[in-house]
């Protein structure tokens, strides 16, 4: 076999795969079509606009730089690929006071505003797809969600029930300043090494803002909504936004 034939065969065997799974899908997915929400009650056809609020770009940068993706995923797989959807708080909340069951799998719009989807490679910690909503609705009882996340980042093991967490402490995202006068509003309830006051650096603010933007509570078009069908009201298929979910007692997923 001559070098020419060798090279051409190599070119063909690699090039086909390269075109089929890399180049064509990549450029096709650069512009995904806007999705219709379906006709609403008035008869207008609205377009689905993914909503995310927060400092997504610089928060995602802090997330990437500190390697959060090495232990946390951001992907809710459909049921053929895993059981992520059934965990009561990962894929949305199974029992959300405002919206009922918001659980759904990840769609292509969920990473809006990011350059690189931090799908993750390993789950040493839980999936973060719905972390923002989880912190708001479940974790932060008497404090703001931001405050809860600051405390968690400063010391992931500060709550007794989280003493087994292996999440690293991100103390380096916080300042320690000597207290002169009244404590700041943002001061954490921890004492620093030198007895100073602990407050978040800009990186910690960006990261927390980004983490709180990870939510699965926006109503999505029917074509994207594969949330587990709740058994109670079987007849309510038509409206895109369910009027009032009357399904709280019929939850199939047990409490954590």
């Amino acid at each position: 076999m001559s070098f020419r034939t060798f090279f051409l065969s190599l070119f063909a065997s690699f090039g086909v795969a390269w075109l089929a799974i890399i180049v064509v899908p990549y450029f096709k997915m650069r512009s995904i079509e806007p999705l219709s929400m379906g006709e609403d009650a008035i008869g207008t056809d609205a377009v689905f606009i993914p909503k995310r609020a927060g400092r997504i770009t610089d928060g995602a940068e802090v997330y990437a730089e500190n390697g959060c993706y090495l232990c946390h995923s951001q992907l809710i797989r459909p049921t053929y690929a895993g059981n992520d959807l059934f965990r009561p708080d990962w894929a949305g909340l199974a029992a959300d006071e405002d919206r009922g069951d918001t659980r759904r799998e990840t769609n292509a719009y969920d990473y809006a505003g990011e350059d690189f989807a931090q799908i993750g490679i390993m789950r040493m910690g839980p999936d973060l797809s719905n972390l923002g909503r989880r912190v708001e609705a479940l974790y932060s009882k008497n404090i703001s969600p931001e405050e809860w996340l600051y405390r968690h980042l400063y010391n992931p093991r500060w709550k007794p029930e989280r003493r087994l967490s292996t999440c690293p402490s991100f103390r380096f995202l916080f300042n320690e300043t000597q207290l002169t006068g009244n404590p700041s509003d943002e001061a954490l309830p921890f004492a620093g090494k030198n007895g100073g006051e602990i407050s978040p650096k800009p990186e910690a603010r960006a990261l927390v803002s980004y983490l709180l933007s990870l939510k699965k509570d926006q109503a999505v078009p029917d074509s994207l909504n594969f949330a587990p069908i709740t058994p109670a009201p079987a007849e309510q298929a038509a409206p895109a936004v369910p009027a009032k979910p009357a399904d709280a007692p019929a939850e199939e997923a047990p409490a954590p």
Binding site: V16, I21, L70, E105, E114, D115, L164, T166, R171
Partner: protein, 497 residues
């Protein structure tokens, strides 16, 4: 024996010695700096895996946080050790097989230094908190053009040597090495251009990253290691490849199947459905190129099992081939869509498989190559068989542990993750014992590589033994198990046997 024959043998030996001499500095530079990066990577690996079970370990400064040390650990292993070991072996093997002396050792050496600068800056960048957050591509974005250019400056001469070689048969090792040298820049440019320059859909970007990781394993490290093994095994055992046509089949099956692999790591992500299935299928089919090559090489070498136990080169190479078999088994076992893929997708088995590929297979074959090449280019023999034995056994202990973690730990952890009616903590706790096992495994590997690095440095300083007998792993010098390559003329005189 006719005088003709003696003259041609003498010329041949002189040519070989000339090639070895011309490449002495670049090859030794790549091997020693690669070994130094290996040590750096292992230390970072120990630090980061210790943090997986003891999160308070060294957590006071941002440089040593898990997310940075783990990324730096893998990048140092890949670009610091893996690539440089590959460069050292590729430029030497291509020169030997094309029978051309290297005339540009200075340029290669300079490019090698630039490569090292790029890797150092990249690792410092990651530790300082400027990583890109894309697995295996964490180097800050300034690094990739530097690495790419120095890559071309290092390997382009091997293509030129191939073009001007004396006409004749092209050996299977050359196929593997040439293919790897063509695939790597193609994969590297594709991934870096698409992810750094042409922003697209973030999910597809993650898919390309997964494909990049897989391609680096299957289309760079695998063919390099197989090319080296197909050279060393017949050379040391003194026998031709058992079935040459099978070797060709193995090569082309690798070329056709493996470019499709990788995106099974995105199963369930919002990308076109066929892509993850193709990825899983291709990864499972890795057993075809792997088993054809492995069986061929094992049957070639084990026709004389004494040679395998005596020769350090052959022993390391065959251990690497056994690593290849385990890796192929793991590729099948961990990637079955619908059964094990969902368990392994987000578990330790991903990391375990990578270490299996990079260390149990690739690195062990590279060690085999290094034990073969270094005496020839330094004209000294390895100083101590005990150091070689220590290196071998501790490497094996370490890597067996990693394999167990990859295969069983990953599945255990996955089963915990899938149990959605249990609290998350119970899934996380399942990983603890395996996290400990990884720390212990890296400690073994570090220990083994201390011996290796020490030995290699001694050889670089030309403090090796002046002898014509290769250092073997048995005490007696009865007969040399080295075949035709036993005559390595360390004393400098050219003799024909």
């Amino acid at each position: 024996m006719s005088t003709d024959k003696i003259t041609s043998n003498e010329q041949d030996a002189q040519l070989r010695a000339g090639i070895d001499r011309s490449l002495r500095h670049p090859v030794m530079f790549f091997l020693t700096s690669g070994a130094a990066w290996l040590a750096v990577s292992i230390i970072l690996g120990i630090v980061s895996s210790a943090k997986m079970h003891s999160p308070e370990f060294l957590d006071s400064c941002s440089w040593l946080t898990y997310g940075r040390t783990q990324a730096a650990h893998l990048n140092a292993l890949i670009y610091g050790w893996g690539f440089q070991a590959a460069f050292g072996l590729v430029i030497w093997l291509m020169a030997r097989l094309s029978r051309q002396e290297c005339r540009v050792a200075g340029i290669i050496l300079t490019a090698g230094h630039i490569w090292n600068l790029g890797v150092s800056a990249g690792i410092i960048g990651i530790l300082a908190g400027h990583g890109t957050g894309m697995p295996w591509m964490e180097f800050p974005s300034f690094a990739w053009p530097v690495l790419l250019l120095s890559y071309f400056a290092i390997v382009i001469w091997s293509f030129i040597q191939f073009q001007v070689r004396p006409a004749g048969h092209v050996y299977i090792s050359q196929w593997y090495l040439m293919a790897a040298m063509i695939w790597f820049p193609w994969v590297y440019i594709t991934a870096n251009v698409l992810l750094h320059i042409v922003p697209g859909n973030p999910v597809m970007a993650a898919g390309i990253n997964a494909w990049y990781k897989s391609s680096l394993i299957f289309l760079f490290f695998t063919p390099i290691a197989l090319g080296v093994a197909f050279y060393l095994t017949p050379k040391v055992s003194g026998r031709p490849i058992r079935s040459y046509s099978l070797a060709k089949t193995g090569f082309w099956s690798l070329a056709v199947i493996m470019p499709w692999a990788g995106m099974q790591k995105l199963t369930g992500a919002p990308i076109p459905y066929f892509i993850p299935y193709l990825g899983a299928g291709a990864t499972v089919l890795f057993f075809i190129p792997a088993f054809t090559a492995a069986m061929n090489l094992l049957r070639t070498a084990f026709a004389d099992s004494e040679a395998v136990s005596n020769s350090p080169t052959l022993r390391f190479t065959m251990a690497g081939i056994v690593g290849l078999i385990v890796m192929a088994f793991a590729a099948v076992f961990l990637n079955l869509p619908g059964s094990t893929l969902k368990l392994s997708q987000f578990s330790m088995s991903g990391y375990g498989f990578e270490v299996l590929a990079l260390y149990a297979f690739f690195s062990l074959v590279m060690f085999g190559g290094i034990y073969f090449i270094v005496p020839r280019i330094t004209q000294r023999e390895w100083l101590s068989r005990r150091l070689i034995k220590m290196h071998f056994f501790f490497s094996i202990y370490g890597i067996v542990t990693v394999a167990i973690v990859a295969i069983f730990g990953g599945i255990q952890q996955g089963i915990g993750q899938e149990a959605f009616d249990q609290p998350w903590t119970s899934a996380a706790l399942r990983a603890y014992p395996y996290a400990w096992a990884i720390t212990i495994a890296w400690c073994f590997i570090l220990f083994s590589n201390l011996f290796f690095f020490l030995h290699l440095t001694v050889m670089w300083l030309r403090l090796g033994r002046r002898s014509t007998h290769p250092t073997l792993l048995v005490a007696s010098h009865g007969h040399s198990p080295h075949g035709a390559e036993g005559d390595i003329d360390n004393s400098g005189t050219v003799s024909a046997h």
